[in-house]
Amino acid sequence: MYQYDEYDQRLVDQRVAQFRDQTRRFLAGELPEDEFRALRLRNGLYLQRFAPMLRIAVPYGLLSSTQLRMLARIARTYDKGYGHFTTRQNLQFNWPRLEQVPDILADLASVQMHAIQTSGNCIRNITADHLAGVAADELVDPRPYCEITRQWATFHPEFNWLPRKFKIAFSSSTTDRAATQVHDIGVHIVRSEVGELGYSIYVGGGLGRMPMLAHCIRPFLPEADLLSYLEAVLRIYNRLGRRDNIHRARIKILVKELGPERFTELVEAEWAQIDRAAFALSAEALTRMRAHFTAPAYAADAAADPRFDAAVRADRAFAAFVKRNVRAHRVDGYKVVFVSLKAPGVAPGDITAEQMDRVAALADRYSFGEVRATHDQNLVLADVAQSDVHAVWLALRDAGLATPNIGLLTDLICCPGLDFCSLANAGSIGVAADINDRFDALDHLYDIGELKLKMSGCMNGCGHHSVGHIGILGVDKKGEEWYQVTLGGSAENDASLGDRTGPSFSRAQIADAVERIIAVYLEQRRSEDEAFLACYRRIGMAPFKARLYAEEAVA
């Protein structure tokens, strides 16, 4: 993974000193509250319902075991002993004290981490496929491009005070696992018809109260021109994005109001005038960056080891784990192992300091010292020799991290909701727990198969409800929590926004509503091979609506 040199380290250390000074000035009454707010958000710090919340950047989801241990230490020292992985591959602490945040940032800097630009109206953490470098369907490893973009975006002096937050995601595979089409910019790494490497650039996607899918504004951009093109898009946005209404300030609104064609013309005209040579990625620079992301030293004889197959045959529980939480690796003899942060009774994405330490130890022993965070709020040990998978499973099970539910209904993604977030209208963690309870009979789950349930506690859509196969959105109705349901969303290559079922459901009705939706699917699907999304797209909303709003449903 990327290693800081002295220059990178100095940049992060300087930021810690700057924020320490800003915090001191704020506490001394020398810095106005609204200005400190804008500055602290750029350092990941929110003031939340109960306490500050600190969001730490995990660039494109990649963590070393050393970094994960530091997160565990911070959780113990400054927080209540746990953290929360988010839908943007970052980690949040919910209970730090404002005065201690500069110390936390200094601790993070000691392991090449920071909270820079994890919030505020600036370019946020770059996200990518959590299977980067190990996926069989990958064209090239997207992480060198992510790191280049991360550096370009960090403290960009021209684009640090944008109309609104700005999120960039990369994908380089047949299956888009990074939800790129619901980002402000989605970069797909592609090959042209003549085999040159480059990018398709998507702009204007986003979730929140006006969910939209991004438009492809440039089908092919040459590899060297990534940063000059990003400059062009950001400059158009910085100049023309709306600043009069926070709810209309994202680039998706600019794209919509101008129309994608006009927006594209403006970007292309700007790009034509930019000194592309000054921004061009040289072959040498790309080679040097790629060298940070080389494949680990895989054992040549890993595939010969028979223990994995033998264990699958011998142990049904292990076989269930393998079926759901283990994926193929591009290298024969290695497996990708998912660490589920969706155990029943635990808020999705939550992990204790003890669990972080255990995962770090497993990474060191079995996966070359690296861990990835997924946008579905799980972790991944990406390079486990097949002979070790059983041992990893036993250790994960012992740590409560082996729930065999990756991709299933109970692997739902969910924002912190009313329990923690000052923006939320409604609780989401409690509803997640209800749904978990109702569906925790795992055999039942296996019948249901691949189903992405995504839930947000408010319109801001941190839980990505608009692109859930089943989406749940918490709304406030006269002081009560209600839940709107959408069906048929997807954040993958076939991206689509979910359709509203109709009137919303009360807290007491919502788990039952999900059960009715599942029941209709199970009755209507052609076979177990027809997943929920495919079935919905075939039969449409009517049968679901009929069941959901039948007389007894509202009773």
């Binding site: 300087q14 200005e35 550096q151 370009w152 002096p157 005070w161 944008l162 940063l227 990625l281 960056m289």
Partner: protein, 172 residues
């Protein structure tokens, strides 16, 4: 109003701000973009230095021909978090090669944005009234030690050159 120059020197502003309906006075003055557009045919020929204050919504592609020979352009930051003038500054310096005085004025002219302002090519700063000047000047003076990943537009960028030779991973 305290005016701080790029080199950290603080002093009185030689320019006086002229209201749109005020008669022209002797000495350096700053007029609004509206007035400049209306009266530039005559003001153009005045011997005194006349600077122009440009709203942050003005499209430079259209405005530049009317601004090219001005000794001073003042860009506005109407809110602490409104960064439009950063793009105007970069365009003026980089695309149009504007070499006159580029002044930052408004709610973002504070020590917490001093390094970015400098980096985007501003070379004079109308310090916000509530700002202690020592903090702002300190930031200007230490800005040369600050590390960046991007090209800079301030005149002395030795450290950026160092980075460029050193590694060149991004475009630096």
């Amino acid at each position: 109003m305290r005016l701080v120059k790029r080199n950290g020197v603080i002093g009185a502003d030689p320019y006086r701000r002229l209201a749109d309906d005020a008669p022209l006075i002797d000495g350096p003055v700053i007029v609004s973009w509206t007035r400049w557009m209306q009266e530039q045919a005559t003001l153009q020929h005045c011997a005194q230095p006349i600077g122009v204050q440009l709203p942050n919504t003005t499209d430079l592609a259209a405005a530049w021909p009317l601004l090219a020979n001005r000794p001073l352009i003042e860009l506005e930051f109407p809110a602490f978090g409104d960064g439009r003038a950063y793009s105007q500054a970069v365009l003026l310096r980089q695309r149009y090669r504007y070499a006159g005085e580029l002044r930052a004025q408004g709610l973002a002219v504070v020590q917490d944005q001093a390094a970015e302002l400098l980096r985007c090519g501003f070379d004079s700063f109308a310090l916000r009234a509530d700002q202690p000047s020592d903090g702002f000047i300190e930031r200007l003076k230490t800005a040369g030690q600050q590390t960046w990943y991007q090209h800079g537009l301030e005149p002395t960028v030795a450290h950026v050159g160092a980075r460029r030779n050193h590694r060149a991973d991004v475009h630096v």
